[in-house]
């Protein structure tokens, strides 16, 4: 199913997103990679202030390429980074911040999949490397936090986006995962591939 979503998105609506659905989203999202995950979780645990309204804001695994032009930030390219690097933090992160949409590439692990079910959240895949296309969907940089401390890719960027997508729901809040399904197919294909190699393959 293809959907156009305006943010913020209600929890019951997110429960309705199913693996394989394609979304385009409009509204405000934030970026966080490894260092930002670590920092945000630490701040929350130490009961320090989070300087933006993080609850239910889609989390984008992205280290954008940004340029300052006439004192305004301009996103040049903003494709997703490998989500699996955030796996050690993600379960705790989405529980702490009530995150309902995670956007990244490559998928996440079992712990996150379990948390998606608990929190009522989804993991959406965006085409890796499609940085210029993603940047076109960014209408403005709302703010940036911890830029000096973390550097450009690792800083937290708050972005307004317009019809950002296609985002493919790869892991939903019902335990469905496109990656699990694919693993089964690939494993079966691997048996055939190994047989070909063992018998001297395709010669």
């Amino acid at each position: 199913m293809e959907r156009d979503i305006t943010l913020p998105v209600a929890n019951n609506l997110v429960r309705g997103f199913r693996a394989g659905d394609i979304l385009h989203i409009s509204g405000t999202i934030f970026t966080a990679r490894d260092a930002a995950h670590h920092l945000l979780v630490k701040r929350k645990n130490e009961e320090k202030e989070i300087p933006f309204d993080i609850r239910q804001m889609p989390l984008y695994h992205c280290g954008p390429l940004v340029r300052k032009k006439e004192s305004r930030w301009q996103i040049i390219a903003a494709g997703p980074t490998t989500s699996m690097r955030m796996e050690p933090f993600e379960s705790q992160f989405i529980s702490l911040f009530s995150t309902t949409i995670i956007i990244g590439k490559g998928g996440m692990g079992e712990k996150t999949l379990a948390s998606l079910q608990e929190v009522g959240a989804v993991y959406a895949h965006y085409a890796g490397g499609a940085g210029a296309l993603a940047a076109r969907a960014v209408t403005q940089v709302v703010d940036v936090y911890w830029l000096d401390k973390l550097g450009m890719p690792e800083a937290v960027w708050i972005l307004d986006v317009e019809r950002f997508g296609p985002l493919i729901i790869a892991m939903d809040s019902h335990g469905e995962s496109l990656y699990h399904k694919l693993d089964k197919t690939v494993n079966k294909n691997m048996e055939w591939i190994h047989r070909q190699i063992n018998k001297g393959a395709l010669q």
Partner: protein, 284 residues
């Protein structure tokens, strides 16, 4: 200075314009996909390539580690210029293209801000008996670099062990290196040589096979096997997991069989500069 200008132009070209052979192969790939998700991935990739080219902006926010492979003609009068001018060009390109500052101290995580730092940019010299210098620029992204591997195989296991190690590795990486990938393979030499051969192998244009027929045949066979896995574009399923397999080899120690595997994402960016003896420079 002319050389710095040429380097800046090459860095911008590599970051913003995907080489023709890669684009054509991606366009062919979309025709081979039946699944909606695979086609959606490739369509987004192709649209992205178009936007980057038209607007002259980097294809991918990960503008990579700037890696320069230099075939340095020993009779060229310009050799001593190369290191400092390349460093200067990288600093300027970081600000003007722009490139994402991607070099961080390995212990403190401090970002240098200008893509320089100890050992950066990466410059690899190969001496040639010539009066020309050929610089091939490879901006290498982190996602695909994390999927590189060195395997020290048992020589007696033979060619099928090599095939299996390559296919198993590429498929185990699933969507992580941003498939469809280009697979660079280096066999023999020693641990370091195998990795270097594998990295040089991804510089070769797609559809140009290894000049030796048995190696070319192996490249074709491995590509076919990898694409039968079903991993597909971005690891969401489909018929195109890799666009090419390129193999380079060197002789080996009888007791060792080093196998280097380098994965390159679909954004297989590269550019080339040729510096002639008379000082004329060509960027391509």
């Amino acid at each position: 200075m002319k050389l710095k200008k040429a380097l800046l132009s090459a860095i911008r070209t590599a970051a913003t314009i995907l080489p023709r052979d890669v684009v054509i192969t991606l366009e062919e790939a979309i025709q081979k996909e039946d699944s909606k998700l695979a086609r959606a991935q490739l369509a987004a990739i192709l649209e992205n390539i178009k936007i980057a080219r038209t607007d002259s902006i980097p294809l991918c926010q990960d503008t990579g580690i700037q890696t320069f492979f230099i075939q340095a003609g020993t009779r060229s009068p310009y050799l001593e210029l190369l290191n400092p001018v390349i460093a200067q060009a990288v600093i300027e390109a970081t600000a003007t293209v722009p490139l994402r500052p991607n070099t961080v101290h390995p212990f403190t995580d401090k970002n240098s801000g200008d893509n320089l730092g100890r050992g950066m940019p990466v410059i690899d010299y190969e001496l040639t008996e010539s009066d020309k210098i050929i610089i091939t620029l490879l901006p290498k992204g982190g996602g695909s670099e994390n999927c590189c591997a060195l395997k020290m195989l048992t020589p007696s296991a033979g060619i099928s062990a090599i095939k299996r190690a390559i296919v198993d590795h590429v498929i185990a990486c699933k969507g992580a290196p941003c498939p469809p990938t280009i697979v660079g393979v280096g066999i023999g030499g020693g641990a370091d040589v195998a990795m270097k051969l594998a990295k040089r192998a991804i510089l070769r244009k797609i559809k140009i096979s290894h000049p030796e027929q048995p190696v070319a045949k192996l490249e074709k066979e491995l590509l076919e096997l990898i694409n039968r896995s079903g991993v597909g574009p971005m690891g969401l399923g489909g018929n195109t997991t890799s666009l090419a397999v390129h193999i380079e080899y060197a002789f080996r120690h009888p007791a060792s069989l080093p196998l280097g595997i380098v994965l390159q994402c679909w954004a297989s960016r590269r550019a080339q500069i040729q510096i002639n003896k008379d000082g004329s420079i060509k960027v391509s």
